[in-house]
């Protein structure tokens, strides 16, 4: 298995001990949050609304100033910078927004040129850069359109192009796909991944949709009540979620709850036998073994497959099955123990 990117490449964004409280006595948005995003990775932060993820991403370019902690971006300590230097640092950090935040009275080309304009880049050079970026996001034909004439997906492409105009090394995505339909979301996510590869960007994104994390992220952190409760490689977090909240998030995407009606229709165990309902997660080196037939043959138990699906997360195969195992209590236990020994995750499902 490949080493996590974070061990191989230097840090792009390093947040240490961030704290933020809105209004004295109010809710704590950030409660001692530390995060390290490696250069070139796509890092996702997932959480419900109010978990503090928006405050966290806005702390990276200091749109929100934390009360305490350290914000380092590409080695620069942003909280130590004076106003003009901070503005300079922000030019190296692109940001994409949920509601696009485009200028309604500027055309597509003029919107994309805006960050260059405020950086004092001459008109001719701006036009050249805009002409370079438009094909990257597939909007050559729309250069003179106004935002009101574009679809949501096209607006977000303009937002991305604008964020990349001043050649930032880092891209922050604040719920960038939350206002888009599922199909457009996948398009935009594919575009983000492509741009990451092509431009060697580091992407930090926040979302409340686990599907976004699954589609595009290398690593993920789960936030709740201003804290990061779990983080790791997307595959690990999806296959072995440690925290209850994470499990709920994961279930949204690879849900495998067994309907109560299905369980009720299963045959009852015969005399001297027992029935165990389990969920088995197939991941890791033994995920391709014929586990069910081997267990049935070697342990003399009957296994009824109730549900199952195969998926791919961060490019790695992954399967999940709900099984009903019938047999003498000891043999069933031995069979399940053998599965666990193979590195599969076996959890009891409440009948």
């Amino acid at each position: 298995m490949a080493e996590p990117l974070s061990n191989l490449r230097p840090s792009a964004i390093r947040l240490t001990g961030l704290r933020k409280r809105f209004a004295a006595g109010g809710t704590v948005a950030l409660d001692d949050v530390s995060l390290d995003v490696a250069q070139g990775e796509v890092f996702g932060i997932v959480g419900r609304s109010g978990a503090g993820k928006s405050t966290l991403i806005r702390s990276v370019n200091l749109l929100e100033r934390p009360d305490a902690g350290r914000v380092e971006v590409l080695g620069a300590d942003l909280l130590a910078l004076d106003e003009p230097r901070l503005r300079g640092a922000r030019r190296g950090i692109g940001m994409v927004f949920q509601h696009f935040n485009l200028h309604t009275r500027r055309t597509v080309a003029e919107n994309i040129a805006f960050p260059l304009e405020i950086a004092g880049i001459p008109r001719a050079e701006r036009a050249g850069r805009v002409a370079e970026i438009l094909p990257l996001v597939g909007l050559e034909a729309k250069r003179d359109a106004y935002p009101a004439q574009l679809s949501g997906g096209q607006k977000q492409r303009v937002g991305i192009a604008r964020a990349l105009a001043s050649r930032p090394r880092i891209l922050l995505c604040d719920e960038a796909t939350s206002a888009l339909d599922p199909e457009t979301t996948q398009e935009i996510l594919a575009l983000l991944r492509e741009l990451r590869d092509r431009l060697d960007l580091t992407v930090l994104l926040i979302t409340h949709e686990m599907a976004v994390v699954k589609a595009v992220c290398d690593r993920v952190a789960v936030m709740e009540a201003g804290r990061i409760i779990e983080q790791g490689r997307v595959f690990d977090v999806f296959t072995r979620p440690a925290h209850a909240t994470t499990r709920r998030f994961v279930a949204e995407v690879i849900g495998h709850a067994v309907p109560a009606g299905t369980v009720a229709r299963l045959p009852a165990p015969t005399e001297g036998q027992e029935r165990r309902l389990v969920q088995v997660v197939f991941a890791g080196p033994n995920s391709t073994r014929a586990v069910v037939s081997e267990a049935s043959r070697d342990f003399g138990v009957d296994i009824n497959i109730i549900s199952g699906r195969v998926d791919e997360i961060a490019g790695e195969p992954f399967g999940v099955m709900a099984l009903a195992a019938y047999g003498p209590a000891q043999r069933v236990e031995a069979a399940l123990g053998w599965m666990r020994a193979l590195g599969l995750e076996v959890t009891e499902i409440a009948p």
């Binding site: 503005r87 300079g88 696009f100 485009l102 309604t104 009275r105 805006f114 405020i118 009101a148 922050l172």
Partner: protein, 220 residues
């Protein structure tokens, strides 16, 4: 149409010109002064780019004071100031001073509201891109608010046409003054009706032009 003598025609034309001059000049001054005041009010407001209560409060109070003083009272109250600026307190030129003052206060508030209408997200995006406060004001807020600013100016122009009718009180002349002197005091209802008709056409014209300008500047 026996009342419409060549003399009366000249009087009407002169009055129209005086009204146009008073409204146009005071509106131009009000836009020039009102926009900076509105930007200052917006920027120093509690959710502005740099909240500064000691600027915002007194300025807001001043604007409100000017707005709440009835125009006819404002006009006579600032006579010494008018004399200082215009050299006289009588005539069309002198009437422009109180008109401009009242319109400035009026427009400053309307402009401030138009600026507030600008989507906060666009401002935040500009901040994220490293824009300075001045750049946000001039390159984001004013351009994005332009249709709203134009609409506010239209409202102010229409109000100014009404205010200018009172300028007769300081010898400012204009259509309103003509209507009072001939239509009312000399019992010439035809003159009054003509004056009112011209005023209606003037206001309609201003409103239609303003609406067209709003439409052609917004790209929503």
């Amino acid at each position: 149409m026996s009342w419409l003598t060549p003399t009366m025609q000249d009087l009407l034309l002169e009055a129209l010109w005086q009204t146009t001059l008073m409204v146009g000049a005071s509106a131009a001054i009000a836009v020039a002064l009102g926009l900076p005041i509105a930007l200052l009010l917006y920027a120093t407001g509690s959710d502005g780019l740099r909240p500064t209560a000691w600027v915002n409060r007194p300025l807001g109070l001043l604007v409100n004071a000017a707005r709440s003083t009835p125009f006819i009272i404002l006009m006579v109250a600032i006579v010494p100031f008018t004399r200082l600026v215009a050299g006289t307190s009588i005539g069309t030129g002198a009437a422009i001073v109180p008109l401009a003052l009242a319109a400035t206060a009026f427009l400053a508030r309307l402009f401030e509201n138009a600026l507030r209408e600008v989507d906060k997200g666009v401002i935040e995006a500009a901040r994220a891109m490293g824009a300075s406060r001045l750049q946000i004001l001039l390159k984001v807020l004013v351009p994005e608010a332009l249709p709203g600013l134009v609409a506010a100016t239209t409202v102010a122009l229409v109000s100014l046409v009404g205010f200018s009718a009172m300028a007769g009180a300081v010898g400012g002349g204009g259509l309103g003054d003509l209507g009072i002197r001939f239509g009312y005091q000399r019992f010439m209802p035809e003159v009054m009706a003509t004056v009112v008709l011209i005023l209606i056409l003037l206001v309609q014209g201003l409103q239609s032009f303003g609406d067209w300008l709003v439409r052609s500047t917004s790209h929503r």
